[in-house]
Every structure is written in structure tokens, then in C-alpha cells.
Symmetry: C2
Subunit: 328 residues, 2 copies
Amino acid sequence: MTQSFDILLEKFKTYLAANPFEKEPIGLYQPVDYILNLGGKRIRPVLLLMAANLFTDDVEKSLPAAYAIEIFHCFSLVHDDIMDAAPLRRGKPSVHVKYSSNSGILSGDVMLIHAYGYLLKSTLHLSDPRPVLNIFNRVAIEVCEGQQMDMDFETRDDVTIPEYLKMIELKTSVLIGGALQVGALISGAAEAEAKLLADFGKNIGLAFQLQDDILDTFGDSASFGKKIGGDIAQNKKTFLYLKAREKADAVTLAALDRLYATDAKIDESEKIKTVTDIFARLNIEEDTELLKENYLEKAFQALNELNVSDDRKDHLITLSNKLMGRTV
Amino acid sequence: MTQSFDILLEKFKTYLAANPFEKEPIGLYQPVDYILNLGGKRIRPVLLLMAANLFTDDVEKSLPAAYAIEIFHCFSLVHDDIMDAAPLRRGKPSVHVKYSSNSGILSGDVMLIHAYGYLLKSTLHLSDPRPVLNIFNRVAIEVCEGQQMDMDFETRDDVTIPEYLKMIELKTSVLIGGALQVGALISGAAEAEAKLLADFGKNIGLAFQLQDDILDTFGDSASFGKKIGGDIAQNKKTFLYLKAREKADAVTLAALDRLYATDAKIDESEKIKTVTDIFARLNIEEDTELLKENYLEKAFQALNELNVSDDRKDHLITLSNKLMGRTV
């Protein structure tokens, strides 16, 4: 019997609460406990457990690896928030604001190392931990490469759509795929099966990012949970923006340039409205939906090929639909 | 036949030159190649090779691990330089000055991950890489803990001598011990033998740090290679300073407080001379020498216990004496 997202989430939360850092020197470990307990949906660790659960009913052995993935994810948030000078994380002061930039750097570093430690703990029953470690290493490197591309894009005005998609794949989607892949390997899945789950996760991640971009502009504030138009207000080069530039005629392009100029003297809600109108006129929402569906199709194709009985896949399918805002 | 430091150094330099990062995104990897090619004595990677060489004539398999240790060491330098706002590293602009703080953070992160990758490359011939990985993990965590203690000490005026010694042990010595321990394990040494080398390295590291502190105050500028009195000028809480406070009478203690006050209006060379005179009057150099000899004795005792023929230990003994400024 496989377990639902909510049941596995509770197991993960219990494990997290039972494994606080609270160690000396406290200046190093307090920020670690702080960021790990800021909340969040815990999607990555629970996905790891769900992948493990596809191949075994006993997910206990995967809990340290799930923790490792969450520690790694939080490490990347701490360092990203310093780099982006982001004051808030999950509505609370980010680590470098609450403590200091130096704390954020060093506590982040030690988190990355402890992530390897917890990952190793989940391999004790395996004869060789290297397949798991190699995947984690590759994913961790790709997340850094994605963050670098994201920073590079801020000062470039010639970012192409393939480059943008590569960036979000590296920065966010490979970690989702990697979590699933690691969970599968820890439960004894064959490498080819684990790879199918990596493909599933990567494509779900890409679809989810596009979904998020659509909702940020065309969503409903109440159900989205954040202010609509944030990406436009912050001049973010999302898929919507890049696709609009690709389709725009010269006049519209010039209008977009003026609206996104950093010294543009324009009221924020006015800007959001005007840009949203341009996107709507160019049918950008439909283009993005189309691409999203394309990724979703690839994701479910990979899941379909997975040599596991259909009923064991149910919870993963339910979660995917929920993430995509479908009530199916 | 074991190989000399210089021969192993050449082998390491060749390996380093053959394995540049030069990858995309260049913003991420240029700083990595920059710091790795700033020079330095390469003591840690060559010690790893020397430890490997104790147990086998073939050190080739240890080259990736030696590189891993150097990449890790350079990662810690990049992040420490940001935290200490240090403009120079080996006489050249530090990474965050030449590139940016964000580059320093992210390129440092990816170095830490690549260190694990190279470490794993050196374990391909082993049935289980975990003993090596666990040592590396522990050492990496301790280096972060030592750096945190060092930062904490800056704002504390009640640092004890045992606390100071613990800090330098974690911040600098455990990595030297860990390099030797990893080298031994990669060459198939038993865990107990590798542990003796860790003890040797840790104690040599502590002795070397004390030697460096002595030379910084009582050394000869030409042979030391840096300006004499730098630690005093920068108000560093070295063993010399802490020992002086311990031995000083109330009047001398008050004098030291005035000299080390951050708002002290005193000429730098005057300050260095006055503090050095106090240290000399209190026989601090002799106390430090005594402690240093104590660590050296422990180091050589561990090396002595090592179950390897004496002639194979010669190059390691020669290097230790050279590091201690002895021409024996």
C-alpha cells in the first residue's frame, strides 16, 4: 500500500522535528534551525518519499535522504536570498536579515555539508552509495549553474526562450527530478526506473514553473496566494515576457521596452494592467498553456513507462494534478 | 620507494593544470579557475599524496582526492575572504573583489560540490567509499565550526586558551589531518593506521600555527615573508596575546587593554614595539615554543606508532622539519 502525500508529509515533519541542529557553535546552527522551520510545502522531500514508496512499503530508510534534499533546498534559498538581497522568505525575515550576511554564507555552507551526511545515512543498507551520491552531486551542480544563468540574465536583453527554459530546468526542475530519482534508488529501484522518475519530476517541475508564471499574471489573487502581477512589477524575464517579445510587432516591442525600462516613470498597477493587456492580445496565456501541457504529457509518459503497478502510482498522479490546480 | 614533496608537488600541479573548470556558465567557473591558480604551497594535497605513498608506490589514484582537498581549501578561502572583507589573497585581488560577492558565494558553493565529485573519483577502486566520505564530511563541518568560533571570538573579550586552541584545531588543523587520513584510506590502509596519520596531521597543524604566531611577532621579516607584527597591528587574539593576558599583572593588563582598544590613538609601529616588549618581558615566546614542542612530540609519536617501515616515513619527517623551520 502506498501512502498519501499528507501521511508522508506528517512522517517527514516528525523526522525533521526529531533531528534539530541545536548544536555548538550556536551562531552557526541557529540560522540552520531557523530556515528549516520556516515552513514551506516540503514538496521535494515528500516527493522523494513517494518515489521510494513506489518500490517499497517501508519508507523509513528514505527519511534521512528526504531531509538531505530539504536541507539542500533550504541551503540554496539562504544563499540565493543573499545574492538577490531578498528581505523576506516565506513572509519572515530571510536568514541574512535576521542574523547577518556572514551567518547566511557560513550556515548555508554547513547545511550543504550536512545534506551529504544525511544522504549517506539513507544509503547504509545499500552495498554502494555512489549511484545516489553521483545523482545528488550532478543535481547540486546544476542548481548552482541555473542560479548563475538567472543572475546573468538580469543584465542581458538578448535571452532566448531555449536559454530561459534551460535556466528554469537547472535552477528548479532538476532538483525535483533528483529527489524522485534518489528516493527510487534508495528503495532498490533499477537505474533505468529511477531515471524515468527523474524525467517525470523534471517535466512536472517545468510545467509547474510555467503554471506559476501564468497564475502570477492571469491568476486569481485569492487562490494564488500572492499579489497578481508581481513578475511584471519586478521586470522578471519570464516565459510570458520572452514569448511576447518574440510575437510582438515593432510598435508593441517598443511599448514593452518602455514599460520594462528601469527608469520608467509609470504607476505599478498601471504598468501591470498595460503589460497584461499586451500579453492577452498576443495570446501568450494560450502559448504558455500549450508548452505546459507539452511538459505534462512528457511527465506522464515517463510515469506510464515505469514498471510499477498502476495503483502504486495513484498518489503521485493525484499530487501532480493538485499541483497543476486540477481537481480531477 | 616513496617520493619527495617536490616530486609529488609536480605531479599535483600537472593534474591540476589538466583538470581546469573552464566550463559554462563562465561567470560561475572563471572565479573557480582563478582561485585554484593563484598559487599557494599546496601543502594539503601533497600531504594527501605523501600519506597515500606510505602504503603504495602508485599515487595516481589519489590525485583526484588531492585535488578535492585543494578545491575544498580554496572554497573555504573564497567564503572566508568575503566574511573577513579581505581585499587580497596571495597578494592578488580576492575573488569577491575581482568578480563580486555574489560570484564568490556561488562559485564557492559549486567548488564545495565539485570537491565531493573529485573525492568520489578517487574511490572508484574501493568497494565502499563511505569511510573516506565520512571523514571528509566531518572535517568539512569542523572547518565551518572553526570559522564560526573565529568570528565569534572577534566580539568576545573572554576567550580562553583552550577555546582558542580548539578554534585553530577546527579551522586549520583538522583539514591537514583529514587530508592525510583520506590519502591513507585511498591506498588501502587500515582505519587505525589512517587514524594515526590524522593525529599526526592535526598536531603538526597546531604546531605549525603556533610557529606562525611566534614568527609573526618575533620572526625575521625577510625569512618570514610577511611584515612582522601584523597580528598585533590587527588586534588578533593569538595564543601569544591570550597567554600574555593570563600572565600579566593588573598594570600590564591595563596597558594591553589600552593598546588593543579599537579606538586607540597610537602609531602602529609604536604599538607593535610596545606589545612585543610586553610579550618578551612575560616570556611568551618560550611558553609558545613549549606548547609547540608538545604538539610536535604528539605528532611524531603518532607517526612512530604507524606500522610502516621507517624509510617510507622519511619524506614526511623531512617535510615536517622544513615546515618548522628546522634544517635538520
